[in-house]
């Protein structure tokens, strides 16, 4: 058989039906469901008298609307509550065995719990009505975000109609310099390829720097594939992946797992297989990054300055930069380190795993949050929260003056009560710095957990390498 990329191997193994000129029918091994993009899909099933074809391949949780205050305090927003109640009802009516409501010990951001609980596995096809489904590709699976009509389609048929995407290799050669995290890798990549550089493609991240990342770090990288416009991101499974899967509560165990691992060793891209595009980045060119604008590719090193819109080549770029600077309240050529911060958000499916919390805790241990800053930590799941508490990280954060919250999507998208006030400036470990994303008029700068932690202490951006 001809040499194939990892994506092609997974795709080929899941084709149910193909006809020339039509999208392929692809079987879906894991469907993750949350409260925001599913109610209309369940309604569609109900109206057509359809069932969920494979409840056993469907995992649901409540994450976007859930308040991050203590679980004993009721939900105040009745519209949010109605949406959460709808998921409760739908899970019961359609017989979903794996539903983790906001009180469950397995609850959390859907892209944190999928891999962490052992549902996401190498070689699988994974979908969710959420663009950051690309996260799961870190385990060596094909994971795509879909809309609500497709959620309904997968619930009814366990398949997805997809035109085969093209492939793109993003190779990061060499070892990461000290102080450069997985978040900086992906911000650097998006800065390089642009917010639509990956459109129509599945990105496979390769190279020594990627191989050297932990599973949590790899998930951070794959999470933001969509910010580069890609359909999905993926990383070949290796011993790091297999060791991770071995410790997941609901993953296969023992001889069954070891047999699977032998199969998974065949997944990586064959020597001689070709990608439609390849982009090469040298790890030595990466540094801690900060976004200055309102799209994730508007990014500069911490040692840099806010760009002058006149420095851009095209009229469209200049106008976009001018508009971004006006929205962000920044001046051309202002030093990034001189930008003062009002809020810190350490959380989101990008950076709310245990490695992220450990890294941030290491920066702040024994220090105090600046008196002009309000800082919060929102662990990615109830399990991450429990693990952090077992390690005493919650105390490190609380001692420094951080607010320690309950798991959820929180201020990543401003759907629950955690939002920025107009004009407030936030150093955020999330994935989108769009206008108004974290609240109307809110100003978001995307950074790594380490950089957010350092900014919390300093009150402005600061190079974590000198901190």
């Amino acid at each position: 058989m001809a040499a194939r990329t990892m994506f092609e191997k997974i795709w080929d193994a899941h084709v149910v039906h193909e006809e020339p000129g039509q999208p392929s029918l692809i079987y879906i091994d894991l469907h993750l469901v949350h409260e925001v993009t599913s109610p209309q899909a369940f309604d569609g099933l109900r109206m057509a008298g359809r069932k969920v074809r494979r409840p056993d391949l469907t995992v649901a949780t409540a994450d976007h609307n859930t308040p991050t205050w203590e679980l004993t305090r009721p939900i105040e927003d009745q519209i949010s509550k109605a949406q959460l109640d709808a998921l409760d009802r739908n899970a019961a009516e359609f017989g979903l065995p794996f539903y983790y409501d906001r009180f469950s010990e397995n609850q959390g951001i859907v892209h944190v719990i999928g891999p962490d609980l052992g549902y996401t596995l190498p070689g699988k096809t994974v979908v969710c009505g959420d663009s950051h489904t690309s996260t799961h590709g870190a385990l060596g699976c094909f994971a795509v975000g879909i809309g609500t009509s497709e959620v309904e389609h997968v619930l009814a048929t366990q398949t997805l109609r997809q035109f085969k995407p093209r492939t793109m290799e993003v190779r990061v050669d060499g070892q990461l310099p000290n102080g450069v995290s997985a978040k900086d890798v992906i911000l650097g990549i998006i800065g390089h390829i642009g917010v639509n550089g990956g459109t129509g493609h599945v990105i496979e991240y390769t190279g020594e720097a990627i191989r050297g990342l932990s599973m949590d770090g790899r998930m951070t990288v794959c999470n933001m594939s969509i910010e580069g416009g890609a359909r999905a991101g993926m990383i070949a499974p290796d011993d790091t992946t297999f060791d991770y899967v071995r410790t997941r509560p609901y993953a296969p165990k023992g001889a069954e797992l070891e047999a699977l691992i032998e199969q998974w060793r065949q997944l990586p891209t064959d020597a001689g297989a070709s990608y439609d595009h390849t982009v090469v980045i040298n790890a030595s060119d990466l540094s801690p990054f900060v976004t200055w604008g309102t799209k994730p590719d508007m990014v500069v090193p911490i040692t840099g300055q806010v760009p002058d819109p006149n420095s851009f080549e095209t009229t469209a770029e200049r106008e976009a930069a001018e508009r971004a600077l006006e929205y962000m309240g920044l001046e051309p050529n202002q030093r990034i380190e001189d930008i003062k911060i009002d809020r810190i958000f350490l959380g989101a499916c990008t950076n709310a795993r245990i490695d992220d919390l450990r890294a941030a805790a290491n920066v702040i241990r024994g220090r105090q949050v600046n008196s002009d800053v309000y800082a919060m930590v929102v662990p990615g799941s109830a399990r991450v929260k429990a693990q952090a508490e077992a390690e005493g990280l919650d105390q490190v954060f609380k001692d420094a003056g951080f607010d320690w919250r309950v798991a959820g999507c929180s201020m990543c998208l401003g759907m629950n009560p955690d939002i920025l006030d107009p004009g407030q400036r936030c150093a955020s470990t999330s994935n989108r710095n769009f206008e108004g994303r974290q609240g109307k008029g809110g100003r978001t700068h995307l950074v790594s957990p380490e950089m957010a932690a350092a900014a919390a202490i300093a009150g402005h951006f600061v190079d974590v390498r000198d901190f």
Binding site: Y27, T37, Q40, Q83, H153, T157, N196, I419, E435, G436
Partner: protein, 196 residues
Amino acid sequence: MEPFVQLEGVVAPLDAVNVDTDMIIPAVYLKSIERTGFGPNLFDRYRYNEDGSENLDFILNQGPYRSSKILVSGPNFGCGSSREHAPWALEDFGIRCIIAPSFADIFFNNCFKNGLLPLILPETDVRRIMDKAKDNPGFEITVDLEAKQVRDGDEEIVVDFEVDDFRRYCLLNGLDDIGLTLQHEDAIAAFEARQV
């Protein structure tokens, strides 16, 4: 799903690149469990002032643009989240076609599932339509999916376009994907049998 065959209507020019889904409809308005009713919150952050009154500087609040059926915008339209509420909000407002040089993948796909046509035209043609719509409030064009052509009344602008045959077929006939897929029930069952 309502078939999309030929659409004639006012073109609203939204001259911006990378219009994202948070601009189209912010997350705070995604709490409804219905498919309809999102139109009033389309471009909410731009359409309304702090006090809730209409921002008259925003294109969709101006004269004939209030009844726009077609939106023309810059590249990478619809980037960001998978929220189908974005095409739902556009449709609820009355817009059934978006013309741009390129679209983000998930948004592009979501449009077809709801009887909306995301139409990719070359940048120069997009610019001609944009400029004419800006200079002539109330400017109308016809998007003819049957003939794969966009044209204006005086036929100054006549552009033939390409759209994937399968997606065009589904739009022209208002076809629901699930029904089509369930015709392959045997193939799905056979695939599942091989997995065990």
